[in-house]
Every structure is written in C-alpha cells, then in structure tokens.
C-alpha cells in the first residue's frame, strides 16, 4: 500500500525513450501500431478532402448537364471512347499491381515490391501518354475551354497549329533522357543501388511513349472518319455524310441498338450542326421564325427540345448556341481530367519515392504504412477516373 505514494515521484525518469524503439518509429509515437493507425486515419481524411475537392466539379458537371443536356451529348462525340476505355483498363490494372505491391511489402518480398511498384508506375505513364494524344489532338482542333474555343467545322483539322504533342512530350522526353544517362552512369560507376533504381525508372519513362504510340495508332484509325465531313454543309441540314459519319462513329464504338437510334442520330446531328459556326445557324437560333424553319428542317422533337432549353436559360443573350456553348463542356472536361491528371502526376511522384525506399528495403512486416497509404491514394485516383470515363465519354 505504501508504494502508492512513492510511485508518482520516482522511477519514470529515464523511462519510455530508448526501450524497444525501432528505427522507423517516430519519436513522438509510443508504438508502431499507434504510428500506423495515425497514418491510416490521416490518409483517409486526406482522401475525404480529395473527394470533396472533386465533388465541386461533379456539381458543376451536374448543373451544366442538367441545363444543357444536348450540348453534353453532342460534345461527348468528340471524345474518343476507345482511348478512354484503354485508359480505364490501364488504370484498373495499375490498381491491381498497387494492391499487389501492398501485399508484397507486408510479406517482405522486396523484389516483388519493386516490380509491382514499377508496373504501377508504368501504367500511370501509359495513361498519361494516351492522355497526351487526346489532349494534343483536341488542342489542335480548337476544342478548348469556352474562351479559347476556336473549333471551325469547315476546317476541323487546321494544319498550322503549334506542335502541342511535342510540348507535352518534351518534359517526359527530358525525364527519359535523364534517367537513361543516370542508368549508364550508375552502371559504369558500379553504384548498385542507383542502378537498381534507374533500371525500373527507365522502363517507366519509356512507357509514356508506349502510351503515346498506342494513342496515335488508335486515334489515327478514327481520324479519317472523324467529324470531318459533318459540318461541311453550310446549311447544317441533315445530309448523307452526317448520317454516315454518325453511324460510323457509333459502329466503331460498338454502340448497341444502332437501328433504333435514328432519333439519337438526329439529336447528334442537330447538335453538331448547332456547333457549326455558320451564319445561317446563328440566325436560326436568334430569331423565332428561324427556329421554326429549323424545325421544319431537322425534325420536330429535337428542336423543340432546343427551343425549350433556349427559353429556359437565356433570356437576354442571342448567341447562345454558338461554339462557345460547347466550350462549357470542354471547360468541364479539361478541368476534371486535367486535375485528375495532376493527381496522377502527384501519384507518380510518391510512387517513385516508394520505389527508392523499396530498393533500399525499408519496408517490413511491421512497417509498411507508406505503401499502404499511397495504395489508398492510388485507388482513389483510379476510382475518380472510373466515374469520369462514363460521365464524359459514354453519354450519348
């Protein structure tokens, strides 16, 4: 009993600091479990903020799609579903390798960890490579955010535009060159550790160009049929090429039930026509009787739809249905996919950091937190794309 008095005063001085403090345990944590739980809660909270961050844009998407469904559906035609689908697959696969990496780190399979991390990184790079093709193609066509939008249907592929693809590829080419030099230098100087890092990284950097190649092949397959003839007709009336093209696109993307989609084609056609910045069309939209004229030309149901929307959203402006309207779709497209791409880039950054630590064999049964946290982040980035893909590419 009398020991109670003594205990608060003595015996706690040197305690608690040195015993059982493994090197990976930060000084302010008591146990590895506490450290792991803190990190886990931290990353989950961070993911919550990320979701909220994107939710702002999903809100914007919902608002503007509700206001202008026909613009969204029409503009979505300009996105290449094949490339989007490939990218979705690539990201899904990278989630698999990431989950695998977490497992490897828990099982102390150091080689496997390096391999799976490198595979994840490679997928990320392929994704970016394909994205580079998509972006540069659209930049070239002038399919840009509202204020910069200069798409001209009579000349959809202007030849003299800056080499956007080269601009996007340049930093990656530099990175590749840097890594290759590093690879050679570390091999020559016999620095095993650096060599072990540079080897997977050079594959990773190469993968960007694999993505670019893949994108080019798929994009050019579509090129010839791609929206070229659609707007050639100055009156924007339902003409043979339009139908042909629309059906081609549909067929190419294996959309089911083409036969029943006559109405849909008409919608698309109307929208594409509306997008066309020809004077006839502006006139059509701006005045009531012109609207009727259009009704006669393109089928009652669709245009009444347009007319309603017109009346609903714009009371003052007359030039609503100009290409700048389509710009809203591309604004949202660029904002969402752009910020998603930035997240991929950030993910690449932390994955490289993990790769270095994996080569150093930092992780073990007790300490695999960072791999786990990055894994969660990577799955989220993946998940966001899973939502972006159908919302942007598959709405027609």
């Amino acid at each position: 009993m009398s020991t109670i008095e003594a205990s608060p005063e003595v015996g706690h001085d040197e305690h608690g600091h040195d015993h059982d403090h493994p090197p990976f345990l930060a000084h302010h944590f008591d146990t590895p479990e506490q450290q792991f739980d803190s990190g886990k809660l931290g990353i989950w909270l961070f993911l919550v903020t990320e979701v909220l961050f994107f939710s702002g844009m999903f809100c914007a998407y919902a608002i503007f799609r509700a206001l202008r469904p026909e613009v969204f559906e029409g503009c979505s035609q300009f996105l290449n579903t094949k490339l989007g689908a490939i990218n979705t697959g690539v990201l899904l696969f990278s989630s698999l390798t990431m989950a695998w990496a977490v497992r490897c780190s828990q099982l102390e399979q150091h080689k496997g960890l390096v391999g799976t991390l490198a595979a994840t990184l490679s997928c990320a790079m392929i994704f970016l490579g394909v994205k580079a093709i998509e972006y540069s193609h659209k930049f070239g066509m002038g399919l840009l955010p509202a204020g910069l939008f200069f798409y001209d249907p009579s000349n959809p592929h202007p030849t003299e535009h800056p080499p956007y693809l080269a601009y996007i590829c340049a930093p990656f080419a530099l990175a590749l060159a840097g890594v290759l030099i590093w690879l050679v230098v570390s091999a020559v100087s016999g620095n095993k550790f650096q060599f072990a890092i540079a080897k997977p990284l050079s594959v990773v950097c190469l993968c960007f160009f694999v993505g670019v190649g893949l994108g080019t092949v798929l994009e050019s397959g579509e090129e010839s049929a791609d929206h070229i003839d659609v707007h050639a007709d100055p009156n924007g009336l339902a003409t043979a090429p339009v139908m042909e093209q629309a059906e081609k696109t549909m067929a190419a993307e294996a959309a089911p039930a083409i036969a029943a989609s006559g109405a849909m084609v008409a919608v698309d056609e109307t929208v594409l026509k509306i997008l066309a910045k020809d004077p006839a069309n502006v006139g059509v939209v701006s005045s009531q009787n012109a609207l009727e004229q259009q009704t006669a030309a393109a089928g009652t149901s669709t245009v009444t739809g347009d007319g309603e929307i017109l009346g609903a959203i714009t009371t003052t402006e007359v030039d609503v249905m100009t290409p700048t309207t389509a710009g809203v779709f591309f604004s949202i497209y660029y904002c969402m996919t752009g910020i998603h791409a930035i997240h991929i880039l950030a993910g690449i950054g932390v994955l490289v950091w993990l790769l270095v630590r994996a080569v150093r064999q930092d992780f073990n049964r007790q300490y695999f937190g960072p791999v786990d946290y990055v894994g969660l982040y990577w799955h989220l980035v993946d998940l966001i794309w899973i939502y972006l893909f159908p919302l942007l590419y598959l709405i027609r």
Binding site: M1, S2, E5, P8, H12, D13, H15, G16, A26, H27, H28, F29, D30, Q34, D37, S38, L41, G42, L45, F46, V48, T49, E50, L52, F53, F54, S55, G56, M57, C59, A60, I63, F64, L67, R68, L144, P145, A146, G147, L148, I313, T314, E317, V320, T324, T325, G327, V328, S331, I332, Y334, C335, I339
Partner: protein, 582 residues
C-alpha cells in the same frame, strides 16, 4: 481556494521550472533551429507572430477605412480614383483579416501550442506536415502581399463573380493565395483530428478531454470538410479568368450565382472555423477563472459537433436576395435558426458555470466576460439577418457589417486575446502586468462597442456597406464609429505592449498561475521541449478540488491531502493476546 496558506502536512506537487536546456524556447539556438523546427510549440509561436503581423497590417487598413469615413464625402482618398482606392483597402482589410488572421489565429497559433500539451503527447501526429502548413501559410501571405503590390484587389473578400471575372485587379494572385492558405488550413485540421483520435493518453476518454480540444476537434472537421470546396471554387475562378471556362461567366452562358453557392458552402462553415475554437477557449477560461467545474460539459461538447454539422446546411442565408426560389429561401431561413440553438446552449452553460463560482477578475476572465456579452449581441443580430423579411431590408447594409464584426472581433478576436493572456505564462514563462492587461480589456471592450453599435443603427437606417461616401445625415454615427475604432486600436496596442513588456521585465511564471486542472498546467512554464517525460496521469480536466493557492510563491499547486497510514487505528504496541501466550 485562495485560502492563503497550504494545509500543513499535505504533499505538494509542482513541476518547478525548466532548465534552459529543457526549455523549448532555448533548448536549441539560432534562427535555423526555429525555421526548421518540428516542435509544435515553436511552430505555434511562429504562427502567433505571423498572425499578429497580419492582424497589424489589416488593422491599419481598417483604421484607414474608418478615417476615410469620418466625412460624408471621404477624408482620405480623394480625387477620381477615390472609390477605387476605397474598394481596394476594404477588400484587403477583409481578405487579410479572414484568411490570414482569423482562420489560423486560434487553431493554428494557440491550437498548435496547446493540443499536444493538453493531450500529454510529445507532438502532433504529423510534425512535418505541421511545419509544411506553416510554410503554406507564409506562401499564401506572400501571394496576398504581391496582390497588394501588383494591381490591388477590389472584389471584396468574397470574390463574387461576375465582377471578379471582369475586374482587372489581381484576382488571380489573391485567389491563389487563398487557395494555398486553404491547404494550410486543411493540413492543420487533418493533423489535429488524427492527433486527438490516436494520441490521447491512457485514461483520457473523449469525455475527459478539455473542452478546448472538443472545440478544436469540431473545427478541424469543418476545416477538412469545407475547405476543399473553397479550393476547387477558387481554382475554377482562376481558370475562369485565365481560360474563360465559362462556368461562372454569363458571357459564356455560365451562372455567376453558382459561384455564390460554392463560395458560401465553404464560407459559412468557415465562420464556425473562426468561432468554434473561440468557444473552446471561453469554456476553459470561464471554468478556470471561476474555479468551478464547467456546467453541462457534455452539452458544450456535443453542441460544438452540432454546430460543425448544422453549419453545412445554412449557407443559403447569405443569398436571400440573389434570386433563389422562395421555397429555398424559407428552408435556409429555418435552418439558420436551428444553428443558433447550440450557440445559445453554450452561452447558458457559461453563465451557469459562473453562477456561484469564485470568480477572479484576471485579465483572461475580463476578456472572457466581454466575449460573452459581445458574442451574444452578434449571435442575436444574426437571427435578424436569418429572418427572411428583415434580411431583405438589412442585407448588404452596415447592419451586416456590425453583425459579423460582433461575432468575429467581439467573438473570435476577444477570445483569442483572452486565450493569449491565459496561456502567455505557459508559452513564454513570464507573468504580465495584471493592471495593464485589465486596462486593455476595458479599452477594447469600450472601443469595440463604440465602433460597432452605431453601425447597427446605420444599417437599419439604410446605410449600404462598401460605399466610400454617404449621406450627411449618417455623419454623426459614422464619426462615433471612427472615434471608437481609434479607442479600439489603442486598447489593442496596450495589450501588445503589456505582453511584450512582460517578456523583458515580467516575473517568472509558475507552472500553474491560474489554477487550471488541464494537463498543460502540469508541466513547467514554459514546457520542456519534450512536454512530458512520460504520459501524465489523467484526471478530470474540470476538477479543481485538489488545487490550492500557494500565496508564498503566488502559484497554484496540486495538493494531496496528508495521508494517514493505513489502517486507521494503530495497532497497540503489544498484541492483546501477547499476555496469554507468555
């Protein structure tokens, strides 16, 4: 409590004073040891300096505004550009005060210092992230300064579109600054949530946490849930200005009111980021300086969380006149009323805590009392604004200006000052002049009311906000307000001088100068760099029964009553049966 002498025979527990090599202020030297420190206490101190500088700058701008309004046609800014100048000055005043001062003031400056110490922990969960938040704050501040130096900013702190997409002042710089500051705030909040969740010492259950920690926890939830939305909103605004994405810009068929929704979805919860930590401070201050257990602990704790959650549902009350449907406005109005209930619960609990307490009118207590008074006025006038019919008249008038200054200055700033005075001895190990401190509290209280009470009248008579000139009929009230602001400024200056003087000539502070029972009073003043040798034993944070005033050393000490040897009755010298056996 203040009995004077300690009961004899009792065991006194007091940690004494730190040695210079333990003291967190002196344990390592040189400017770099501060700039790269991972010690949450030093980061807290750096924040304290930072927010004080920001407050000083924005405060001077405020005095300029008030001086300008001394005359109906404007006293300071003259000529063609007068309105322009006026717009820029009030915008910068508001933006700096909100983003650089009030939001980080209590959570980042005091919170950083106090949260781990109150938890008996060695540091926050992520010390490096913590330092990173501080530097994000610095970067954000630099962006603001560069906006000031570039072409100013004249949109008001709310950056409303469509004006913000068309004005040619430096909206992009300023919003980038606010974006970065948002991340600073998110990281701080994230850090605190994790720290409080995973690093509580054994024995500290959720309901044994000091209320300051509850408030910080609720604040952090808002920071994490609301700030990302501000981030994306500002990002879209930047994109709007650089690329004309057309989301907010009517020229491209965007919808400017969408911006208001996005903005207030963050910024109404953000006003609770500002006030909740103040509630936490006041709960602790009132209880400690009344030397009485806090009344309704659970109610105060839960009401913090309730405010945090309800605060997300009322943003529309800033937009009653923006053209929402009447059903929406009615719903928002009704929800606005619900959010005032938890605030009122707190006020009543504080009053009940003081009732029959033995109140010491120390400087922190003076600030706490003026907080209760001023916040009550601010909160009640919020109800006028939340009522649809009256808000139609009062919206965008000086009534709103007075309302939010009562809650933000009368509430948060006064609580912040109270908190700084309360924890100053702990932070720097020095006692300040009590007389000076009380004088500052009085001056601030008087100056504040003189400045902002007239603005309620001005607003209800129809004086619109954000105007550089006004009808001569308003002159008298405006002049009162200007005189008041001078007094308020003087009071704040006195507070600053009192605190700074204490650093040079103040008496050495004991570990527990006020008689607080929370853990921070159980380590030395200032705390050693490791806070606690080992996790301290956790008691009831509002149980003052074992704290006694030690008049000799002017400190409170933990007293354990003289212990008697067990069992109570001493056995007789010779066992009774001894005789028998012999």
């Amino acid at each position: 409590m203040s009995a004077g002498s300690l009961p004899s025979g009792s065991q006194v527990k007091d940690p004494g004073y730190p040695t210079p090599s333990e003291n967190y202020l002196t344990n390592s030297k040189g400017i770099l040891s501060w700039l790269f420190t991972l010690d949450h206490k030093r980061i807290g101190v750096m924040y304290l300096i930072g927010v004080t500088v920001a407050f000083g700058v924005a405060g001077l701008l405020a005095l300029m505004i008030r001086l300008h309004l001394f005359q109906p046609d404007g006293m300071i800014f003259k000529g063609e550009e007068a309105n322009n100048w006026y717009n820029q000055v009030f915008t910068l005043h508001g933006a700096i005060m909100v983003f650089l001062f009030i939001i980080p003031s209590v959570p980042a400056a005091l919170g950083n210092f106090l949260v781990p110490v109150m938890l008996g922990a060695k540091d926050v969960a992520f010390p490096r992230l913590n330092l990173c938040s501080f530097y994000l704050w610095v970067f954000g501040a630099l962006f603001f300064v560069s906006a000031l130096c570039a072409s100013g900013l004249d949109t008001g702190w709310t950056f409303y579109t469509p004006y913000s997409t068309t004005t040619d002042s430096s909206v992009i710089l300023a919003t980038s600054g606010a974006f970065i500051l948002g991340f600073s705030s998110i990281f701080t909040g994230l850090n605190f949530i994790v720290t409080i969740n995973t690093m509580r010492p054994p024995g500290m259950t959720w309901f044994r946490m000091p209320l300051f920690l509850w408030a910080t926890y609720a604040t952090s939830i808002i920071q994490v849930l609301a700030t990302p939305v501000l981030g994306i909103t500002l990002l879209l605004l930047i994109a709007e200005r650089t690329m004309h994405i057309g989301i907010f810009d009517p020229e491209y068929n965007g919808d400017p009111v969408t911006f208001q929704h996005f903005f207030w979805f963050y910024s109404h919860p953000a006003v609770y980021i500002m006030i909740l930590p103040a509630f936490g401070i006041i709960s602790d201050l009132i209880s400690v300086h009344s030397h009485k257990r806090i009344f309704g602990y659970r109610f105060i704790a839960y009401s913090s969380i309730a405010i945090a959650l309800l605060g997300f549902l009322v943003w529309g009350h800033h937009m009653f006149t923006a053209g929402m449907s009447s059903l929406t406005t009615i719903i928002f109005s009704a929800l606005t009323f619900t959010v005032s209930v938890p605030s009122a619960i707190k006020v009543f609990n504080w009053l009940a805590t003081m009732y029959k307490g033995s109140i010491s009118l120390t400087t922190p207590m003076c600030y706490a009392l003026s907080f209760i008074f001023l916040f009550t006025i601010g909160g009640l006038t919020g109800l006028h604004l939340g009522t649809l019919a009256t808000d139609m008249h009062l919206h965008d008038t000086y009534f709103v200006v007075a309302h939010f200054h009562y809650v933000m200055v009368g509430g948060t700033l006064v609580a912040f000052l109270g908190g700084v005075f309360h924890w100053w001895p702990k932070m720097f190990g020095k006692m300040y002049s009590e007389a000076g401190g009380r004088l500052s509290a009085l001056l601030v209280f008087a100056g504040f009311n003189l400045t902002f009470l007239p603005q309620f009248i001005l607003g209800s008579r129809g004086m619109p906000r954000r105007y550089a000139t006004y009808d001569p009929e308003f002159a008298a009230l405006h002049q009162m307000s200007t005189w008041g602001s001078m007094l308020l400024g003087f009071g704040l200056l006195v507070a600053l001088v009192v605190l700074l003087r204490s650093l040079k000539s103040g008496k050495r502070a004991p570990a527990n100068p006020w008689g607080g029972a929370t853990l921070e009073w159980e380590c030395t003043s200032p705390p050693p760099f490791y806070n606690f040798e080992r996790a301290p034993s956790v008691g009831d944070p509002y149980d003052f029964s074992d704290l006694e005033w030690d008049a000799e050393d002017e400190r409170y000490v933990k007293v354990e009553p003289a212990r008697e040897i067990v069992p109570e009755e001493q056995p007789e010298a010779e066992p009774v049966h001894a005789d028998d056996s012999k």
